[in-house]
Amino acid sequence: MPAVCIYFQVHQPYRLRRYSVFDTSASYFDEKANADICRKVAGKCYLPANQCIYDLIKLHEGRFRVAYSLTGVVLDQLQAYAPEVIESFQRLAETGCVEFLAETYYHSLAFLYSRQEFVEQVALHQEKIERLFGRRSTVFRNTELIYNNDVAKAASDMGYKAVLAEGAEHILGYRSPDYIYEAPSAPIKVLLKNFRLSDDIAFRFGNRAWAEWPLKADKFAGWINQVNGNGYTVNLFMDYETLGEHQWEDTGIFDFLYHLPAEVMRHPDNAFRTPSEVAATYPAVGQFDAPHLISWADTERDLSAWLGNAMQSNALQEVYNLEAAVKAKGDEALLHDWRRLQTSDHFYYMCTKYFADGDVHKYFNPYESPYDSYINYMNVLDNVAARAR
């Protein structure tokens, strides 16, 4: 009797403006672009999707339940550029059927470079969630589901009951991601993404060349039913922008979402559960031992999207090198700027994997080339460094 556990990731970075070596001002971010993008995504995704979820919650009288992880930086931008989206999330919170997860405020890779900064950012995030939605989280996810045993331990030390991770095959082996596991390093449960079924929706849904196109709610519910007896939960973890941005409305994605709960619940043993409910309901069947870092990015599911070349490694090193100096200055604006430069997207844009082939990295990349993004970023960082001196 599988639970269906859906979690949506909601995030927008503060994108940088064109900043050459000759620029000296302390305004680094492209406010116009960020505002435009925020409003556009709000219109195509956040608002219609929130409405759909809300309608489903009402329709199914509380049996349809989902989780969100909203980064601090997207909440800040929504408050500034599209406050109606915040209200819509608050309405969802009030239904009692929506869970909010914890993560780093700035969607950063701080865990890899500064444990202290990592803890501070998670605390900031929790304060924000509490202020907006009146509750704290019990489940943690790290940026881009970057995970290893240490992440589990850190989350456990911070008091979280469960942590999310990618259902990486090389760690699972013959085992299924549809069970609950625990970390070898700490008393915390690990919920693993079923990447096949998640990516069917997130990536393959609108692809007419796909063997399973068109994917209807009943077909998908059938696949979920096949897990019956073979797992506790089907964890569908994906980007919220799947609904309306990655998969445009004309693919039928909203219709699919709208009919999915009914189809799933046709089978009386199925139930929608949030991550904390899943963690509370089911026992761990074994350990998920991840000594090396994994993530949910690309086919490699490792760190190569942000740390695959010398430029990325250098940029990340340099930004965290500034931590002591920035914090010593006691300048709130400087601190906030420095932190917004830690958002993982900046380094994602510098990725040279597949650059010549042109793919998903390029679609979301505001720069013409990864080299341009590195140059731009380092010019900004130089200015921040100068302010911190």
């Binding site: 070349n309 040279t352 650059f355 010549a356 590195y374 380092m378």
Partner: protein, 443 residues
């Protein structure tokens, strides 16, 4: 193949491309009759001389090892005083010099003109003197016409399937040979009069280019940039024009040179003809900006051309004269040596139909910054790109490369890897496809 120079006497992309394509075609097993204009030395003695391609080439100073690779290629030098990138003024200047060297040394031979294959072998033949005297009183166009006549004579004794002509000076020859033999003509545009002269085009040259484009069964452009110019300014029919990119000779560096001694000073390199088309003044303007922020860098301009003197003066006027070095034209090992020293290669071309030099730089492990107004930017992804006029952005990118070793390293590694797939074999295969189309179009 109505081509141009052979190594080591290569003065630019045109010669490099012709040689490269010929090598590629030979490597694919096709026979190439390579016709090239070879100025007649007034001191050579003898009437008709039968020579093997090797000895012929050796006499002209060619590298025998290179020729050994060209198993399917036959050289046919034709006496004509044509040189790549010639402008009508250059030709007249050279002709004037030639007059002074003494007209009477050149012999006339009557038999050779009608029977270039006197002994029936496949040896190359030097026609000592043909119809009329070389270059006397003729202008460039006259010489081009003369060359066409000689080419026809030579072609009558050969058998081939396709004629491939490179750039305008060979077009009348290509048209003539095609008309007389009935074989299809493919013309390749390595640069147009607009690339070479901006808007001050020479009408006669333009007319010749246009006639060649319209007469030929197929036209090859070295980039989409060039193809668009052909469609827009020469009214070329789109279905006739194909794009075949150039490539480079060696992939990866050759013999390992000893690692260069670590220098404090960074070096930014400009290598190419110093002429309007290549944007030398933008290079210098960017250099000036860079030097305001980075003191420890020197700029090298390697090449010759009509703007050398102006560039030297410009550098002096900008106050950066001490930081800019003019090396003159570099050949052979000197080119490799200057690449070894360079931290960045910059090609700020105003209008570059292709631009082989950045590929050579990458093959020599030098990262490149290229103008977006170049053909090569269509196929290179691991390169920094900039609009040629955007001097600020050019300086921004140069400074970034000089300040951030990881940027330089990543560009260098990925770029070097990327050029390995750009071989002349691939380009030659592209030409073959076009040849097939041309043959079908003829029938």
């Amino acid at each position: 193949m109505l081509g141009w120079e052979f190594p080591p006497y290569i003065s630019g992309g045109l010669g490099t491309a012709c040689y490269g394509l010929t090598r590629g075609l030979s490597g694919l097993g096709h026979r190439v009759i390579f016709v090239l204009p070879r100025g007649v030395e007034p001191t050579t003695a003898g009437f008709v001389q039968l020579m093997t391609p090797a000895s012929l080439a050796a006499a002209a100073g060619h590298d025998p090892a290179r020729l050994a690779e060209l198993t399917n290629v036959e050289l046919r030098p034709v006496p004509a005083m044509l040189m790549p990138y010639d402008r009508p003024e250059d030709f007249s200047n050279r002709a004037a010099v030639g007059l002074q060297m003494g007209a009477g040394d050149v012999e006339t031979s009557s038999e050779s003109t009608l029977a270039p294959k006197a002994a029936g072998t496949r040896a190359g033949v030097v026609v000592k003197e043909g119809i009329g005297a070389v270059g006397y009183g003729d202008d460039l166009f006259g010489e081009v016409g003369r060359y066409a006549g000689l080419a026809v004579q030579m072609a009558l004794g050969e058998s081939f399937d396709v004629i491939h002509a490179h750039d305008w000076m060979t077009f009348p020859a290509g048209i003539a040979v095609s008309t007389v033999t009935g074989k299809p003509l493919v013309v390749q545009i390595h640069s147009t009069e607009f690339d070479r002269s901006g808007e001050n085009v020479n009408q006669r040259i333009y007319d010749i280019e246009r006639r060649g484009i319209h007469y030929a069964q197929r036209v090859i452009a070295v980039s989409h940039l060039t193809r668009n110019i052909l469609l827009k300014r020469y009214a070329a029919p789109p279905e006739k024009v194909e794009v075949v990119y150039n490539a480079i000779d060696r992939n990866g560096t050759g013999a390992e040179a000893p690692p260069s001694i670590r220098r404090d000073e960074k070096i930014v390199l400009f290598l190419g003809r110093i002429t309007m088309q290549k944007g030398p003044e933008y290079f210098l303007a960017a250099a000036k900006k860079v030097l305001e922020y980075e003191k420890n860098v020197r700029f090298i301009m390697a090449g010759s051309g009509d703007l050398v003197r102006r560039s030297i003066e410009m550098a002096a006027q900008m106050g950066i004269g001490r930081k800019v070095i003019f090396t003159g034209f570099l050949r052979g090992d000197d080119v490799a040596r200057v690449f070894k020293m360079a931290d960045l290669y910059v090609m700020p071309s105003v209008s570059e139909p292709f631009g082989i030099a950045p590929l050579e730089a990458l093959a020599n492990e030098v990262p490149v910054l290229i103008s977006k107004q170049s053909g090569v930017s269509e196929i290179l992804t691991h390169a920094l790109k900039v609009d040629f006029w955007d001097v600020n952005e050019m300086a921004n990118k140069i400074i970034a490369v000089l300040r951030h070793p990881p940027l330089q390293a990543t560009l260098r590694e990925h770029g070097n890897f990327e050029v390995r797939r750009l071989t002349w074999r691939v380009s030659a295969q592209g030409c073959l496809d076009v040849y097939h189309q041309a043959v079908s179009a003829m029938n």
